[in-house]
């Protein structure tokens, strides 16, 4: 995921399944210096983590987002 988001960019994190305890903190730490935000409207990127709901991905694509899927359950969308 980190290789797909430039340093210092802001991302919105969307987990498909509940993470282990403190898993959100761990991912946030591992993605530094990229900054997680609270709302998609604050982000340049959306990270889909262990879950890529088709409707959400399609919605982002309709808005002009570039979506890159990788492995089975992960995707990064660059918002327009």
């Amino acid at each position: 995921v980190a290789s797909r988001i430039p340093d210092r960019e802001r991302f919105y994190f969307r987990a498909g399944r509940p993470l282990p305890p403190n898993g959100d903190l761990c991912v946030r730490f591992a993605l530094l210096p990229r900054i997680q935000v609270r709302r998609p409207s604050q982000a340049r990127f959306v990270v889909f983590w262990r879950g890529t709901p088709a409707s959400a991905i399609a919605g982002l694509r309709r808005r002009g987002a570039l979506v890159e899927r990788f492995r089975r359950d992960y995707a990064v969308a660059r918002l327009p």
Binding site: F29, Q36, V37, R38
Partner: protein, 478 residues
């Protein structure tokens, strides 16, 4: 030699230089040969003295990067060295070597062997800790904050650190360790999360060195020092907390060194001990919240001992020294407290005093207090972890209280340890987290400061008892 190694050494020497100047200004070092013997305490004092100033600057909006840290530390070094030079012309500065007791050949060889063994242990530890992963609280907040400061210009006003965006846990925790980590990374030219553990290990080693240095400055012999110091240095849990990058040993080092300085000052020491104690307690208060309560505990216990001391006669200047130490500690702690308060950052694990100071609230949670008392006592009694430090301290302290030998010092160290324990009990008693779970993952760590205080108290009391001098009179020597 790599750039990172040079930067690592350079940043450490920067703080050691400032600390050495502080020790010189206070009269703890006066000769060139002391530059080596006082290197450990200089480093610890340098961190405790410079970091609160850097935190103040950061709170005021100054970005703290390598340049700012270097300029600040250098300016403090020059100012303190000039002060020391001016003071040294007015009064002779006592030096450790001047106070060293005469040692026979056997004692001299024991001392050399002990110091060499401890030195080897810490050298091997530094090598072993060179490649360790970031785990648990390290990535959850300590190194997390350090990386944010490193990546975002050494500024506090980042959304990640103010809570506007999701960030690390415990935003209210003081910033000494993360800021130091970010400065070290800048000096090393990049992020070195694994090597960072070496810095924490050096801090621990410098504390052990400081305890030895301070006791030697009061003429305590190596046979008394080596046993408790070795037990502390070799204690498995202390090494564990360093290895996983937590802040518990860091805060314990500053707090216990501060306790020792104040204890030596109460034991007929000059005011310079109290002043150095104030600086070290400021370092503790800026490292973890437990450091703040430890500083308050030390100063309160010292005040009670001072108040109870009637035959001293020189009450006025003793209280002035106490006030100076308290002022230094408070001035060092306040910037971060004010900043976090102004940004609405507080410890969500514990309710505000206004809510918890309620009889119904407290009596309804007595089971939590009971669990905390049992769990923390079990931790202190875990000799596999702390090698008999606390039981030995308790025995010696109680004997001192009962027999009247070194009663003031025993009351001070015991009072400090008890107050520190009470603050821990209060947190678990009133806290919001489920008690059993909370005690399970933190109970073994939070007693670290109490163990370290017990260790320095044990050495001090043993030195007093073995010196066979009149109770509470004269100077420490054994």
């Amino acid at each position: 030699v790599s750039r990172s190694a040079l930067g690592f050494a350079g940043i450490h020497l920067l703080f050691a230089a400032a600390g050495m100047a502080l020790l010189y200004a206070l009269g703890f070092v006066s000769r060139l040969r002391h530059l080596l013997t006082a290197l450990g305490p200089a480093y610890l004092a340098g961190l405790a003295g410079v970091m609160p100033v850097l935190i103040l600057l950061m709170v005021l909006g100054v970005p703290i990067r390598a340049v700012e840290a270097t300029v600040t530390a250098t300016a403090l070094t020059v100012a303190l060295a000039a002060t020391g030079f001016a003071l040294s012309r007015r009064r002779p500065a006592p030096a450790p070597a001047d106070d060293e007791p005469p040692a026979d050949t056997a004692e001299r060889w024991l001392a050399r062997a002990g110091v060499a063994a401890l030195g080897l242990y810490f050298a091997i530890g530094a090598s072993a800790f060179a490649k360790l992963p970031a785990v648990g609280d390290d990535w959850a907040f300590w190194s997390y904050k350090g990386l944010v400061l490193y990546d975002y210009g050494g500024r506090l006003d980042q959304e990640v650190l103010t809570g506007a965006f999701p960030g690390p846990a415990h935003l209210d925790y003081p910033m000494l360790q993360p800021l130091f980590e970010s400065i070290l990374f800048r000096g090393m030219g990049g992020i070195h999360l694994q090597e960072w553990h070496i810095a924490l290990w050096i801090l621990f080693a410098s504390f052990v060195w400081t305890v030895g240095f301070l006791f030697r400055s009061r003429g305590v012999g190596m046979p008394v020092l080596l046993g408790p110091l070795a037990a502390l240095g070799l204690s498995p849990l202390a090494a564990t907390w360093v290895a996983i990058g937590y802040g518990d040993v860091s805060v314990a080092c500053f707090a216990a060194a501060g306790v020792l300085c104040v204890g030596l000052w109460l034991d007929g020491g000059q005011a310079r001990y109290a002043l150095l104690g104030g600086v070290l307690l400021a370092g503790a208060a800026n490292t973890k919240n437990e450091g703040l309560t430890a500083a308050a505990a030390v100063l309160l216990a010292a005040a009670v001992v001072l108040f109870r001391t009637r035959r001293d006669g020189a009450g006025g200047h003793r209280w002035r020294a106490w006030a100076a130490a308290a002022g230094i500690a408070a001035a060092g702690a306040l910037p971060w407290i004010l900043w976090r308060s102004s940004h609405g950052l507080r410890n969500d694990d514990v309710p505000a005093l206004g809510n918890s100071l309620d009889v119904d609230f407290l009596t309804g949670r007595l089971d939590r207090l009971s669990q905390a008392v049992g769990k923390l006592a079990a931790q202190l009694a875990n000799q596999g972890a702390w090698i008999w430090i606390v039981p030995c301290f308790l025995v010696v302290a109680i004997v001192c209280l009962a027999t009247g030998s070194a009663r003031r010092q025993a009351a001070f160290y015991l009072g400090t340890a008890v107050l520190m324990m009470l603050s821990l009990y209060w947190v678990y008693w009133t806290g919001r987290l489920e008690a059993r779970y909370w005690l399970e993952f933190s109970g073994d760590r939070v007693v670290t400061g109490v163990v370290f205080v017990s260790a320095v108290g044990l050495i001090h009391l043993l030195a007093l008892v073995l010196s066979r001098r009149p109770p509470d009179g004269g100077r420490v020597r054994a």
